[in-house]
């Protein structure tokens, strides 16, 4: 990849996030998309005529029960007779969609692009039944695998390799719930204690109920524009200065055993993706240069290997730093100040919310969970069976 010159930058000029709840009976699926789009368009202070292309963010169709459900969202995003395509990289879809929108502009094809989507995970019945279908039908689907027990296996390996305890996992939930309480858009905002987490029922050891993200319904949207357009129209923006996507092996069995291709305790491809994003943004020492991070971590344990992969510390050091409060709001590098994926997970747009929250932070518009002086932030998204990772660097 080449380093982009400053006049070729792509900026974020509008952000919209709907209300996230377990159920949104008040809004149909297209209504939820529209709710976020209206907010983002108002934030960008643009009319739909300005939008030249739309990237639709939707992960498994089965979650909303409609095949190619993006087709039903065309009018919700004002997409008729405009460039329109959908991205799906599982849980990474939201950040992959922002990436796809970025390349509509970075290529020179468009000046203003909307990316939007929504999910109704809370109304899908049982997301784990759907997510079991991501695995190979012959070998791995029958185990039965789900995303919870998949990442419980990662937790067990991380415990063994780096000394993480169940209390350390609970500490992440306590931190994120406390921060979510400051974020009016978060789904789970009730403050909890380590004892609350430890005494919640076991879902898949060592994950307990309060170590797990909720099933959320809601939508998100963002408007991106070229630097020239932003300059010509005197718009306010924050900038995407680094981005990458990297995948690792599909097969769970290849990440465990004596000689794994990518150790399941860690997030190998996430680390690779961050390395590429940092290179593009010219970041050489992320632990010193990053002010705020929104890292996709749907289970408490996965925040540790995500912090490691983002090179905010050496592998495994995140445990001691978490105990010292270094990743809390007010700490050295606040992580998931919005409450993160652990408190809100509408899968199709969860990774877009990571980008949106980082953008709001470096914009200085995050509200009660604002990190003072944040000018450079990072965001990530994880998709598939912890397989496809997207990362971004955003700057004021």
């Amino acid at each position: 990849m080449n380093i982009i010159s400053s006049r070729d930058r792509v900026g974020i000029i509008g952000i919209g996030q709907s209300e996230f709840r377990a159920r949104r009976d008040d809004a149909s699926y297209p209504d939820l998309v529209r709710e976020a789009v209206v907010l983002a368009m108002a934030d960008a202070k643009l009319d739909f005529d300005a939008i030249e292309g739309v990237v639709y963010s939707l992960s498994p169709d089965a979650m909303v029960g409609i095949g190619n459900a993006e087709r039903l969202g065309v009018d919700a995003v004002g997409g008729r007779s405009k460039r329109f395509l959908r991205i799906n990289t599982g849980g990474a879809t939201g950040i992959s969609s922002v990436t796809a929108a970025y390349y509509h502009i970075a290529s020179g094809a468009c000046d203003v692009v909307l990316t939007a989507g929504a999910d109704k995970v809370g109304e899908c019945g049982d997301s784990q039944t759907v997510l079991n279908k991501i695995w190979d039908p012959t070998y791995e689907r029958q185990l039965p695998l789900g995303t919870i027990n998949m990442l419980a296996m990662s937790a067990v390996r991380y415990m063994k390799m780096y000394g993480m305890t169940e209390e350390d996992m609970a500490r992440v939930t306590v931190k994120n719930r406390k921060q979510a309480a400051l974020n009016p858009r978060a789904h789970l905002r009730k403050i909890v204690s380590i004892d609350d987490v430890m005494s919640s029922r076991i879902i898949s050891w060592p994950l307990k109920l309060l170590d797990c993200c909720p099933q959320s319904s809601g939508g998100a949207a963002m408007v991106l524009a070229s630097e020239q357009y932003i300059h010509d129209n005197k718009l306010d923006a924050v900038w995407i200065t680094g981005l990458a996507t990297v995948a690792e092996t599909y097969w769970m069995g290849d990440r465990m055993g004596a000689d794994p291709t990518a150790e399941h305790a860690d997030a190998h491809a996430l680390a690779r993706s961050f390395q590429r994003s940092y290179k593009m943004a010219g970041i050489t020492d992320p632990a010193k240069q990053v002010h705020v991070a929104e890292l996709y971590a749907p289970f408490s344990n996965t925040e540790y290997h995500s912090i490691d992969a983002a090179a905010l510390c050496k592998k495994g050091e995140s445990i001691a730093m978490m105990r010292n409060g270094e990743f809390e709001l007010g700490g050295r590098i606040p992580v998931n100040t919005s409450g993160g994926t652990l408190c809100t997970n509408a899968i199709a747009v969860t990774a877009m919310a990571r980008v949106a929250e980082t953008a709001l932070q470096v914009w200085g518009r995050a509200g009660a969970h604002q990190v003072n002086g944040a000018k450079l932030g990072i965001a990530s998204g994880n998709g598939g069976d912890h397989q496809i990772f997207g990362t971004m660097v955003l700057e004021a």
Binding site: P30, R71, D136, T249, Y250
Partner: protein, 379 residues
Amino acid sequence: MPYKVQPGVVGTAIRPAIAGNARSLEEIIYETGQAALADAGLTIDDIDGIVVGANDQFDGRAISVMMASGPTGGVDRDILSTPSAGEHAFTMGALRVASGHYRTQLVMAWSPTEASSLSEAQRLGADPYYHRALPLDELSAHALQAGAIEAKVPGARQAALAVAAKNRAHAAIACPGSAHPAGIARWPLSAEMTSAPVSGCVALILANANFIAERGLKNTAWVRGMGWATEASFLGDRALADAPALRAAAEQAYAEAAITAPAAQFDVVEITDATPYAELLAYDALSLCAPQDWSTHLSDGSFARGGRMPVNLSGGVLANNPVFCTGLIRIAEIANQVRGKAGAHQHPDARLGLAHAGSGFAMQYQAAIVLGAEQGARA
């Protein structure tokens, strides 16, 4: 042309209709991707990123791109999926090369038939309250569109029959010995106007001008212009005898490629003839031929082999119908024509070609891609 770097197609592989179940989908994807790389004279180590058009319903999986990351070469590499359409993988891959951030992209789409009933898989894509119970699948929607065109354009049925006859004649040359089985009838579509779905796979390699020059790659089909757009969601909101999204897509592509007289400028055209009526409607929306002239130009051979502007020398979808990747195949076919690598159905002097890709209910998604042998004007 607005692109910061001009992309070109340097390799393709269109897998012939796949019969039987001797190959897994992973093997089919691997073999097709490798064939495209071999065609370009490259290896997977030369590929900076991958975009696949993978459809969960057709593949019988959730997040089908996951399975594809191995056989495409996506492990430790950048991979995206555009489940909306196979042709969207091409536009996304081309945009990434056009940004200057990537030297190359592998673009793929596939369409298996063994996973389930395609009709049922498509029906799941209909609105659950109003349309799913009709029942609606893509062929039914195509039939509704055919009926609307017949009602609007006198002589449309005869023109549609002529399109089908032309494409079947082309198929006999492009892939002799293949069965090209007829599909099923849905009034007003006769069985001869449709084709039975088959399993298929297609891959293209995109590269930027510097990479092409450094490697000394020959036979490049340069991307001169791209347009893509969508119709409204609900069939009831659409005028099915018109294709405003394709008009918009053509306008984008023609502006980028500086095409001012489409009916006179293209040497060769491929259209996604999900039905012959879809081909007729595309003639109009792509400004190749107005409805009142359909019959004349079909009877005088303008769009036939040896004619002024041959359309679907490959035989089109009537010759090979892997449903989800028929649009991307059209782009690969035009790339082959412009690269002089189309084989038995090669046009003798294809310098500038137009590929139309359409998909979904009554062609909801529309795309127009202009490819040329000359690099063309650069931004």
